[in-house]
Amino acid sequence: MKPKEIIARRVARELRAGNVVNLGIGIPTLVANYLPENMDVELHSENGFIGLGPVPQEGHEDADVINAGGQHVTINTGGAFFDSAMSFAIIRGGHLDITVLGALEVDEQGNLANWMVPGKLVPGMGGAMDLTVGARKVIVAMEHNAKNGSAKILKKCRLPLTARKEVDLIITEKAVIEVTEEGLVLKEVAPGFTVEDVRNATEAELIVSSELKEMAV
């Protein structure tokens, strides 16, 4: 299995029937593919609807139905369109159970950086700051390390923050890590990796959970 698939599969296990969930661009979007059939999760699209459905077949695109990444998607029966103020009232007002976002960096305090690299990449925060502050549970879904192998789970974020102390759970292809008041708690390690492997790939201190488990994928 590719790392992205492992991550998406594991994130899918965090979702419960009835949850209202926003899936960010990239790996988070893949999570929708691994939800149990008929599990009634309400996917929210921050450009203005709830009930985000699958990508339409070629030739069946509706010009007015895109997701927040600009791709053509569909809306499920029973969904609802609304304006941007309502969309972010849902996000900010605590009506979103879970947001799943990618990250450039995340740290021991649950700080998140995922919106810019000064001097290099300034795409803008889009909805990420509101999602991170507003969602009841913030899950970071990302590959454990950067392409050059450097750590992304740090003692302290070096890039400009998206939000302060808002991350609850970090899910990578190597591990599941919970952000707690005491610091980062290693809860699960993926098959084929040891605790030491995860520690070596991580800059932040990791507290090994007394209930450490193998990561289910």
Partner: protein, 229 residues
């Protein structure tokens, strides 16, 4: 009432230095005919308040490529490399706002509020230069209202009174902007007589809309969707 008019009439209100709001999210819900008109007119140094700058050759992206923009207030520019290039080169000023904050600032501008308190952006560069206010024991950023001289919005249908219906995810910022500018123009796909839209269905009341223009025929559905793929 006579709200239906021509693009040329609307362009009489768009000059060098005009502050514009333009609806849309990555091109969906953007008034393309009006943008083409502005490109043709060639006015410069526009300030544009919008969610994003779409893609280089599309929607609001056309105005950026054509170097007609002095300042942007947007939540995202990552889909338009030319915006990033102009920003890095110092040719364009970009104020980035969290998308939900942008929505509330525009809404506040239309609703006569002096600002809103939001937790979004606390502890980030977004908080720089802004007032922090403690309310009910919690910390919030004070975000100020946004208004424009002209709002160019896109709706699906208008009646002669200017009552609007939006369609699907093309609604986005359009209803908010309709309330937040001195002069508001809706580009629509369908124009119907008063009475064809029931009072219960109306999404934006006609009192907000000064003029209506009929959208020229576009069929960029597939391209828009692929631009973001």
């Amino acid at each position: 009432m006579g709200k239906l008019t021509t693009i040329d009439w609307v362009l009489n209100r768009v000059h060098d230095e005009t502050v514009l709001m333009i609806g849309g999210f990555l091109g969906v819900g953007t008034p393309d005919s009006l943008i083409d008109g502005i490109v043709k007119k060639g006015v410069k140094n526009l300030t544009i308040i919008a969610n994003d700058t779409c893609y280089p050759g599309m929607g609001i992206g056309k105005l950026v490529v054509n170097k007609q923009v002095k300042k942007l207030i947007v939540s995202h520019i990552g889909t338009n490399s030319e915006t990033g290039r102009q920003m890095t080169a110092g040719e364009i000023e970009v104020e980035l706002a969290p998308q939900g904050t942008l929505a509330e600032r525009i809404r506040a501008g239309g609703a006569g509020l002096g600002g809103v308190l939001t937790p979004t952006g606390l502890g980030t560069v977004v908080a720089e230069g802004k007032k922090t206010i403690i309310a009910n024991g919690k910390e919030f950023l004070l975000e100020l209202p946004l208004r424009a001289q002209v709002a160019l919005i896109k709706a699906y249908k208008a009646d002669t009174r200017g009552n609007l219906l939006f369609r699907s995810s093309s609604r986005n910022f359009n209803p908010l902007m309709a309330a937040a500018a001195d002069y508001v123009v809706a580009e629509v796909e369908h124009f119907v007589p008063e009475g064809d839209i029931s009072p219960n269905e109306v999404m934006t009341p006609g009192i907000f809309v000064d003029n209506i223009i009929l959208q020229e025929v576009y069929d960029n559905a597939v391209e828009v969707g692929k631009g973001g793929a």
